[in-house]
């Protein structure tokens, strides 16, 4: 479970995140929906302890991100916005490296890796060097290494960004499967349909602040729009121009 209270972060004069509070419970998919540059990735970066919040607190399974960063990192699996893998290592070696860094015991680790390779349908590339992998193949490696220690909380930054339609559907199936396992899933997206299709709870972020939140139906009701896309735009509270 992830709890966030009054989280704020500035870069110079720019307030990237302003007084954000929400709860992402276990067994649910929580979506942070917002346009590019709304502050979604910055919120995630504070949750995975790479950025320190200026104000506010956040806990992962009860551990404060500021005071117990290592405990937090043990309990999260992250697909960051940056998802580079090591081109000179094979897919399996890439995943194994993260397993070792999490201190997963060797016999357990190899079993986990094999399960993930089957689950993500990457048998064909598992023992190939990652140089020259397609975007989809790279993403599979990045997802597998994020899940190698079987984390309870999963943070996904734009998980389907750059994927073709087949890979997008496979990714959605995986996310739903993780939800069924009772994981706490927090994802960000700027694609409204994706959030509508996946999320139990949607949080709309605009210019660093939460402008609306609820289920898809609640959001439609709240904004008085029958179409979710219109509801999203209405909730952003901005004029429809190139921003």
């Amino acid at each position: 479970m992830i709890q966030v209270q009054g989280l704020s972060k500035s870069f110079g004069k720019i307030k990237a995140v302003n007084q954000v509070s929400f709860v992402a419970p276990d067994g649910q998919i929580t979506g942070l929906l917002g346009p590019n540059g709304a502050g979604k990735s910055t919120i995630l970066r504070m949750l995975y302890t790479l950025f320190k919040p200026d104000e506010g607190t956040a806990q992962v399974d009860g551990y404060d991100v500021n005071r117990f960063p290592l405990e937090v990192k043990k309990r999260i699996g992250v697909l960051a916005d940056a998802r580079g893998i090591y081109p000179r290592l094979t897919a399996r070696e890439n995943i194994r490296y993260y397993g070792y860094l999490h201190g997963v015991e060797k016999s357990v680790l190899e079993k986990h890796i094999n399960i993930l390779i089957r689950l993500l349908d990457m048998q064909a590339i598992a023992d190939r060097k990652a140089k020259g992998f397609s975007t989809g193949e790279k993403l599979k490696v990045a997802i597998a290494r994020a899940l190698v220690h079987n984390p309870q909380n999963i943070l996904l930054d734009e998980p389907t960004n750059g994927l073709d339609v087949i890979s997008t559907r496979a990714m959605r199936r995986l996310i739903l499967r993780l939800k069924e396992e009772g994981k706490c899933i927090l994802l960000t997206s700027h694609i409204m349909q994706e959030v509508a299709a996946l999320c139990d709870h949607i949080i709309i972020i605009s210019q660093g602040s939460i402008t609306a939140s609820g289920t898809a139906d609640e959001l439609k009701q709240l904004t008085g729009q029958s179409d979710l896309e219109d509801a999203f735009v209405a909730a952003l509270g901005v004029k429809e121009e190139w921003g």
Binding site: Y48, L70, K74, A80, A82, R83, G84, L101, R145, A146
Partner: protein
């Protein structure tokens, strides 16, 4: 937790063993030593022998004015040649290195016992000419003295009265140290190897990771961030050592295969054991180089940016070596405390077969190690800042 640092180290070693560039650096240094140093030594040796064996050719204008002088020179294995019509122009053009001009009044002055003037034409801005000029001057001085002694004898004066002092040289250079003039490049090469051997590995492991966008996900793993810096730094050390070993081995092969006895007349007296001592002495410098490079890699955003900083770090590092000839002969405490300089002075002593003191080795090693630890600490601080991932 130490085990997790080693996980990072192990991964980096595997990663870079698969990178052809790593092997290339090592190989290039080996080849550089064998071909460049070997070639240079052969060339210098050949040049030296040629100079010693070949008779000296001297261009003279006004040969008919001083037959005695020229006969004296011919006895000293000098081939006298008539100078071109304009000796000065020929010297300026570089056709001849030096020219002797004997004016018509020489013969008259000489016969009447007056000081006779002759002109030596040379271009001192050409370094290659200096030796020729000195040789001619020496010959002229010898002739001067020879005739002077004769004139004193004729006047019934003991020629000894003009010998006020006599210089007797006692050369304390060992045969090894003479031969080592040819290998004085070694300390410089060692430092260069240490600072370039694994530079690409360290920049690739931090700045390169950032460029490939794999640094941010890596730092989300449950390790204090500075430990990644330390793990990566440790990974560079075996590669630097390997490059240094190969360079020293190439050097050892060079010593064994080059006919040094023939080329420079002397065989330097150091062996595999000496080279191993040098390697051990360099360990703290290897640590220092890795720490400095990790620091640079941690605050630069791209490999390209890191590569603009690293060359001058290597240059500054090798600089103390250039100071050694200017320093007092006896190693002082401050020299040993100066990182790199201490080691270079010690390497120099080893190469000159001088005894080295254990305290100096200890002070130099400790001093350099402490500075390295300090720099590592700063690099770790950079790793812990948010800047490391913000692009």
């Amino acid at each position: 937790m130490i085990r997790k640092i080693l996980v990072v180290t192990q991964k980096e070693i595997l990663d870079h063993l698969r990178d052809y560039r790593t092997g290339l650096t090592t190989l290039l240094w080996g080849l550089f030593v064998i071909f460049l140093m070997g070639g240079m030594t052969m060339l210098l040796g050949a040049n030296l022998r040629e100079k010693l064996e070949k008779p000296f050719r001297l261009s003279v204008a006004g040969m008919e004015n001083a037959p005695n002088l020229l006969a004296f020179m011919a006895q000293q294995n000098v081939i006298i040649e008539p100078a071109p019509a304009d000796p000065k122009a020929a010297v300026i053009a570089g056709d001849i290195s030096v020219a002797l001009i004997i004016p018509p009044e020489y013969s008259e002055n000489f016969s009447s016992g007056k000081t006779a003037t002759i002109q030596l034409v040379y271009d001192s801005s050409r370094t290659s000419v200096v030796l020729d000029k000195i040789q001619v001057e020496e010959l002229l001085k010898a002739y001067n003295r020879y005739i002077g002694l004769l004139r004193l004898s004729v006047r019934g004066i003991n020629p000894r009265v003009i010998d006020v002092v006599q210089i007797e040289g006692v050369d304390t250079a060992t045969p090894q140290s003479k031969a080592l003039l040819f290998f004085s490049m070694l300390p410089y090469i060692i430092i260069s190897v240490i600072f370039t051997g694994a530079a690409s590995i360290i920049t690739d492991a931090t700045a390169g990771e950032r460029e490939r966008e794999s640094l941010e996900p890596l730092l989300i793993n449950p390790l204090p961030r500075g430990w990644f810096a330390i793990g990566k730094m440790l990974a560079a050390i075996p590669f630097t050592m390997l490059t240094l070993i190969i360079t020293l081995a190439a050097f050892a092969i060079l010593l064994r295969t080059l006919p040094l006895g023939e080329i420079i007349g002397i065989r330097p007296g150091f062996d595999a054991g000496t080279l191993a001592t040098i390697l051990l002495l360099c360990l703290p410098v290897i640590f220092l180089a890795a720490a400095l490079q990790t620091l640079v890699a941690s605050f630069t955003k791209t490999v390209k940016e890191a590569n603009t900083h690293l060359p001058y770090i290597a240059l500054i590092a090798a600089l103390p070596g250039a100071l050694i000839p200017l320093l007092p002969i006896k190693p002082a405490l401050w020299m040993m405390l100066t990182p790199i300089l201490g080691q270079q002075v010690l390497i120099n002593q080893i190469l000159h077969s001088e005894p080295i003191s254990a305290i100096n080795v200890l002070v130099a090693s400790l001093g350099t190690s402490l500075v390295s630890i300090g720099i590592t600490f700063i690099a770790v601080k950079f790793y812990e800042s948010e800047r490391i991932i913000s692009r």
